[in-house]
């Protein structure tokens, strides 16, 4: 089963990529994953599957990716370093490739204290940058951490995340550069609501010469309601939602707020398309996958290329 990463093909052919996110269920039912895949199919190039996001136990990212792959989709395996040591992580990297998964996104993961297992031991044997480096070496040099040779190298398009809105701001672009040095080939960013700050960050990224070295996909999360906007602004670490965005959501009548959220998302995507060095968008419609087709359509990003 020799397959290729659709995401990689779209990006390397110079097209504007669209990825979306699928959160696996808090249960063992494969149909939940498949039905989310069905909603997103034909509207996006690839689908990220989160890895026990916010430290909440869910169906494993690897298994959900395999389910999506079997449906003919191109999954992006999210892998956090919070729950597994380097033995388990490298083993899963090999397993993912063997299952035909062609994309991996390396993260450290939300701290376990935020989830439903706050008494868990946080592993953090290695960090996200060390994971990027390890996967890159597995793929390109066919060796694992420590130098042992693999009998066959994994085939993976390697991604990382960036948060242009966290502090210390000046260091954030340099951090992206370190991830690229470590081996990241694409970047998905934190949700963008503060376009000015994002543009400022992209300027720093370009100054470091990174815009030509890595594909950057801007993060988009459509807001469902003014309440959600306020909650996220206040409670989600590293989230930057300006007052005017919250006010705009508030100004819309309750029944219209979802559409307003979609409108904001579309406007943001249209703006991102004009920024030099932005190569695509990553739409994280949290438990609202149905919104993705409309957003893609209205952002003039459909149909998706055959890749």
């Amino acid at each position: 089963m020799m397959t290729e990463s659709r995401l990689k093909n779209v990006l390397t052919s110079g097209k504007f990529a669209v990825t979306a996110e699928c959160g696996p269920p808090k249960g063992a039912d494969p149909e939940v994953v498949k039905s989310k895949g069905k909603i997103l199919r034909d509207h996006v190039d690839s689908i990220n599957v989160t890895d026990n996001q916010t430290g909440v136990v869910r169906l494993s990212s690897l298994a959900a990716c395999a389910l999506l792959k079997a449906e003919g989709l191109d999954p992006v395996l999210q892998m956090v370093t919070r729950d597994r040591n380097r033995i388990a992580l490298q083993s899963d990297v090999l397993g993912a490739s063997a299952l035909g998964i062609r994309n991996i996104l390396c993260l450290s993961g939300d701290h376990q204290s935020f989830g439903n297992q706050p008494q868990a031991k946080g592993v953090f044997d290695i960090d996200s940058i060390q994971l990027i480096q390890a996967v890159r070496k597995m793929r390109d040099a066919g060796e694992i951490i420590g130098g042992d040779k693999l009998t066959g190298a994994p085939q993976l398009f390697i991604g990382a995340v960036a948060n242009p809105f966290a502090d210390p701001f000046k260091y954030r672009a340099a951090r992206l550069a370190t991830k690229v040095d470590a081996g990241a080939e694409f970047i998905q960013t934190q949700c963008i609501y503060n376009l000015n700050r994002f543009k400022e960050w992209m300027g720093l990224v370009r100054d470091l010469g990174m815009a030509d070295k890595v594909y950057i996909l801007g993060g988009i999360t459509p807001l469902k309601s003014a309440k959600m906007a306020e909650y996220m602004a206040k409670n989600v670490a590293g989230m930057d939602i300006p007052e005017e965005v919250i006010n705009r959501m508030k100004a819309a009548p309750a029944t219209e707020q979802r559409q307003e959220g979609i409108r904001i998302a579309v406007e943001t995507i249209l703006a991102l398309k004009e920024i030099k060095g932005v190569h695509g968008v990553h739409i994280m419609a949290i438990e609202w996958e149905e919104a993705v087709p409309q957003i893609v359509e209205e952002s003039k990003l459909s149909p998706r290329p055959q890749a």
Partner: protein, 222 residues
Amino acid sequence: MITAERKPIKEIKEMLAPYRKILVVGCGSCVAECAAGGEKEVGLLSSALRMDAKASGKEIEIREMTLDRQCVYEFIDQLTEVIDQYDVVLSLACGAGVQAVAEVFPRVHILPALNTTFLGETKEAGLWVENCRGCGDCKLGVFAAVCPVTRCAKGLFNGPCGGSKTDRCEVDPDVPCAWQLIVSRLEDTGRLDLLRKVHPPADWSKQQGKGPRKIKREDQRT
């Protein structure tokens, strides 16, 4: 120093239930400095235990003792003459002290009265903070003397994570983001370039690779 906190008295009482004659032994070193297991705390705990026993009609006998150090044989030896007169030793030492006493007296029942917590600094009166994990491979030199293993909630070597906002840790807003401290200290001292290097995975075998660690110095041995 090693810091510790007293266990809830309920838990101590449950452990002590089968015993009548109790030798309460404090330690005058680290746990005295952090007001958990010194002479004073031995007095307080013993007093509380006596009052509690009296109220519940239980007869107990307590002797209070505090050693300068409960982790060094020369001091532990002070217990030799009295220990046989007691049913149990309730130790207010750190985990190392409890085990050191147990090893010297293999037949004696010994119970911990403290929860040993961390290696830390007395930041101000009544405030102790953790800043060393004893990883066995100190990298403070490249991290501007701020330990990311200990002070970053995720122990990131190539931090900061995406959650730091206005220099606070996302896990606990009372705690400064260690990486914010590292970045600003390196910036202030003109060494920010140190962070462009990718730090390879840590060698945790120096911390826990082969079970308990040991330091052996021939020049110090007799």
